[in-house]
Structure formats: structure tokens, C-alpha cells
């Protein structure tokens, strides 16, 4: 007896990635650098978020030639992004065998009302969330991994901090809530009662929680891990820095030893005088330029 694509094996791959760093890459060469530096997986895409932000236009699923080239270049898992709600892009990525699909707000949404029915796929999905309600809606749709959204391509950690705190605080609050309040609390955050009850009992999401959107230094990674992230997505922070190899290694080291400031200091020191990516003050972005508000 043998069963593929079960919730257990979909959620299971994310469990194997815990404590690790998943890096955005746009070429097979970058993928090899990421693997060599200790990335646990790579996200294959055509343009990193900082470039999508700068260049504008409609951002779509990447070319299959590019994704396949990256799949051939590394032995670690390869993830790729689809537009929110674009289940046909997801079917295509499943057919070429990517290991994880990111239904991502970084791409231009294809559907402004509905996300993909992720239960219909063998390939697991990761989705972004700004708060617990959003995370639980995605899990109900079948997401096997959640990442707090942050603000992709900003080089600014403030939104990532806001979102991971919102999720962790809401979980903590549920664990002390009287049982008779759980139905109303589920209604208030737009989530299923069954999931809310489960979290009230276990004190954790039923899937792995990473963070994304703004990590650009080793100390950023250590901060997010101490705030309760189980791993880190780094988008523009590595290949937009002045020294990608060193930044990649330093962010991996700081993620592993996030609770040992001496090792995080060594990781910072290893960067020498190389600059992190330039950042953006998110308060100066127009509402239409924010990525995190896409999908809810």
C-alpha cells in the first residue's frame, strides 16, 4: 500500500526545511551559490521582488526553461511561484515536478476573490499571511506551509516583524481563551472553528511557519527566528547585496545559531564592509505599491 500527495507528506517536506533559509534565485548559477552556502531550498523566479517593484508591469509565473534549468542545477528542493488564484499556472508547475508551489502576492494576482484550491494538488503549497485569520484561511484551502508576508523587495524588516508578531500573539491569545468564546473568535478572524479549536489546544499552527519579506542581514534573520519563525525566506536580500556569497553564508549561520549572539556577531563580521541591499521606507510607498495587501 502506497499513497502519494497526502497532507502528511505535503506538510512533511516543510518540516524537513525547518531552521533553514530558502533563497530567491534567478539563474542556475545563483542556485548553485545558494546551495553551496547552505540554503535548504531555492525559489526559482525570473525577477527578484526588488526588481519587480522597480520595473512594474504584470509579474507572472517564470519561464519553464528557467525553472527546469534551476531544478537541474541543484539537489535541494526547488520552489516556484504562481499568481494568487491562478490554478492553471499551478497545474503547469506540478506537471514539471517542482517541489513546492508558492501562491504569492509578489506576482500580480490573477483572481481578486479566490485563492487556488490547494487540496486538488499533489505538489504542496506555501502561502503568505499577515495575521492568524489569513493563515488559517490558506490552511483550510490546503496550504501545507505558511510564511508571514512582510513586504517583499523592501529590504525593510518592519512588516515582517508586524506579521509574525500578529500571528504568534493571536495564537497565544487563543490558548488562554475560554472554550465558549472560540466560535465567536473564529467568526471574528474569518477562520474555521475546527482549526481555531485545534490551535487553542496545541498552541501552534498545524503547519510550519516561516517568515518572508524584508530579511536582509544576519541580525534580521536572528530577530525573526527569536520572534518564532521556524525558518527564513530571503528574496532580494542576498543577490541584491554587494557580496551574495558572503551574505548567503552569514544569513544561514545566523539562522542556525539565532539564539547565540556571539555566532550572529561572527556572521555579521564575516560581511566585512559589504553593504546590505538598499532599503525602502514603507511609509513612503503608495497603497498601490504594497504587495502584502494582495490576497486576504
Amino acid at each position: 500500500m502506497e499513497e502519494k500527495g497526502t497532507l502528511t507528506v505535503k506538510r512533511g517536506l516543510a518540516q524537513m526545511l525547518k531552521g533553514g533559509v530558502i533563497m530567491d534565485v534567478v539563474t542556475p548559477e545563483q542556485a548553485a551559490i545558494a546551495q553551496e552556502a547552505g540554503a535548504v531550498a531555492v525559489m526559482a523566479l525570473e525577477r527578484i521582488p526588488a526588481e519587480i517593484r522597480a520595473q512594474g508591469g504584470v509579474a507572472r509565473m517564470s519561464s519553464l526553461e528557467l525553472i527546469s534549468g534551476i531544478m537541474d542545477a541543484v539537489t535541494i528542493p526547488v520552489m516556484a511561484k504562481v499568481r494568487i488564484g491562478h490554478f492553471a499556472e499551478a497545474q503547469v508547475l506540478q506537471s514539471i515536478g517542482v517541489d513546492y508551489i508558492d501562491e504569492s502576492e509578489v506576482l500580480t494576482p490573477a483572481d481578486d476573490l479566490y485563492h487556488v484550491d490547494k487540496h486538488a494538488f499533489t505538489t504542496p503549497f506555501v502561502c503568505g499571511a499577515r495575521d492568524l485569520g489569513e493563515a488559517l484561511r490558506r490552511i483550510t484551502e490546503g496550504a501545507a506551509m505558511i510564511r508571514s508576508k512582510g513586504e517583499a523587495g523592501s529590504g525593510n524588516i518592519v512588516e515582517a516583524v508586524r506579521h509574525i508578531r500578529a500571528i504568534k500573539d493571536a495564537i497565544a491569545t487563543l490558548t488562554t481563551a475560554p472554550k465558549e468564546e472560540l466560535v465567536a473568535r473564529a467568526r471574528d478572524i474569518g477562520a474555521s472553528y475546527e482549526l481555531v479549536r485545534e490551535i487553542a489546544e496545541t498552541g501552534r499552527l498545524p503547519v510550519v511557519l516561516f517568515c518572508a519579506g524584508g530579511v536582509s542581514t544576519p541580525a534580521d534573520a536572528a530577530l525573526m527566528m527569536q520572534l518564532g519563525a521556524e525558518g527564513i525566506f530571503v528574496g532580494s536580500g542576498i543577490f541584491k547585496s554587494k557580496d551574495p556569497k558572503r551574505f548567503a553564508r552569514a544569513i544561514v549561520d545566523a539562522t542556525t545559531h539565532y539564539n547565540d549572539p556571539k555566532i550572529v556577531a561572527d556572521a555579521c563580521r564575516s560581511l566585512g564592509t559589504a553593504d546590505a541591499m538598499p532599503g525602502i521606507d514603507i511609509r513612503k510607498l503608495a497603497e498601490s505599491e504594497l504587495l502584502a495587501t494582495r490576497g486576504n
Partner: protein
């Protein structure tokens, strides 16, 4: 007698799941990130994760040699999936450094990419008649076993569980199931190793 303190290598991977499963099986569990952590434990589990990442971190933080020294001195070690790759003598078709603690050749991702990950009812005669609910995730298989190595289970004709003396390897993830039998099997290996050490020290 106090329960065994079993370390779970905590550089990356499903550490918490192994620690919880070890505790359910009656052991005490501790995360191992440093040399000081390693010195305290009676045995070590290398969990599931990414082998390229963990091999680099073992080397980077000076844990590779001390682990090899302790296992050669008799400390029981169990590698699941990534952990078995890290413990193997060699990786087929790749120049990947490993710790060389068990005389096997493994092939990474041999059962396929994530779409081929599966739950399998696996016959493991050493654990009794009831099949084991084995969870394979981008799993390796064992292509060659040395003369000292006992093959404990096969899936579709490929080795997926091996033991050689104080070292145990599984291609699958018992820590993701509620079935405690593989964890209990590993704890019995620790019992034997401790009895042996006990005898040696009382003889001295």
C-alpha cells in the same frame, strides 16, 4: 535508573518532532547544537533535513570530528533520511562529503522529487508482523551495504533501513508518525551500549 538522554542534532531539520517522539518512547531528549551539548548526551539522532546544508554546518561549527569520535567509541547514532545520508560511507553519483559512520552507499532523492513522496505500509520483520507506517519524503535509498551491515527493510527491492553495530539508518521518518516502534528499537540499542559500557567500567 534515569532514562537515557538522547541528543537530536539541531543545526536544521525536524528536530522538535524527533524530540517529542523520543520522549513518547520513554527517553529524555535534548537539542545538540554545540560541542558542550554533544558531550552531555548518551546517543544522537540526526533528523530529517537537507544534507548539503547540515554537512556544511557540521564542518563550519566543528561538530563533524567529535561526532565521529564518539560514535567510534560506541555512542549509538540514528540517522533518518538526511541523517542516514550524512552518516553513510558514500553518496552515489555525487561528490558529497559525509561522516562515513556506516558502510553503505546511498542515492539521494532516489524515490523521486516531492510529487513522489509517499506513505507506505512497510514490512520491518525486526519490529514484528504489523507493517510500519513509513513516510518517505524526497527519500534516499541504500544501493550498497557492506559486509558488516544488516538490511532491516526494503521498499520495491531497495534498501530503506539498515543497522551496523551502534549505527541505525532509515530512509523514512518514524518521527512523523505516532508509531513508536523504531524509536523504541533505537532506545534498546542504547540500553545494550550502556550495559556494555557499564561492564567495561566495572571490569576496570
Amino acid at each position: 535508573m534515569q532514562a537515557h538522554l538522547v541528543g537530536v542534532l539541531a543545526l536544521q531539520g525536524d528536530v522538535a518532532e524527533h524530540a517529542a517522539a523520543l520522549e513518547r518512547a520513554g527517553a529524555r531528549a535534548a537539542a545538540v547544537k554545540t560541542l558542550a551539548d554533544l558531550e552531555r548526551v548518551d546517543a544522537l539522532v540526526i533528523p530529517g533535513g537537507e544534507s548539503t546544508t547540515v554537512v556544511r554546518l557540521l564542518d563550519r561549527f566543528g561538530l563533524a570530528e567529535p561526532i565521529v569520535a564518539r560514535v567510534k567509541a560506541g555512542m549509538p547514532l540514528w540517522g533518518t533520511c538526511m541523517g542516514m545520508i550524512v552518516a553513510a560511507r558514500e553518496v552515489a553519483g555525487m561528490e558529497q562529503p559525509t561522516l562515513g559512520l556506516i558502510d553503505i552507499t546511498v542515492r539521494r532523492n532516489a524515490f523521486g522529487r516531492q510529487n513522489e513522496s509517499a506513505e507506505v505500509a512497510l514490512a520491518i520483520p525486526a519490529l514484528g508482523e504489523q507493517p510500519f507506517p513509513a513516510i518517505f519524503i524526497r527519500a534516499p535509498w541504500i544501493e550498497r551495504v557492506g559486509p558488516s551491515v544488516e538490511l532491516l527493510a526494503e521498499r520495491d527491492g531497495h534498501g530503506v533501513m539498515v543497522r551496523s553495530g551502534n549505527v541505525l539508518g532509515t530512509s523514512f521518518h518514524p518521527e512523523l508518525t505516532g508509531d513508536p516502534r523504531v524509536h523504541a528499537y533505537f532506545l534498546s540499542m542504547i540500553d545494550k551500549a550502556s550495559a556494555h559500557v557499564g561492564k567495561a567500567s566495572s571490569a576496570a
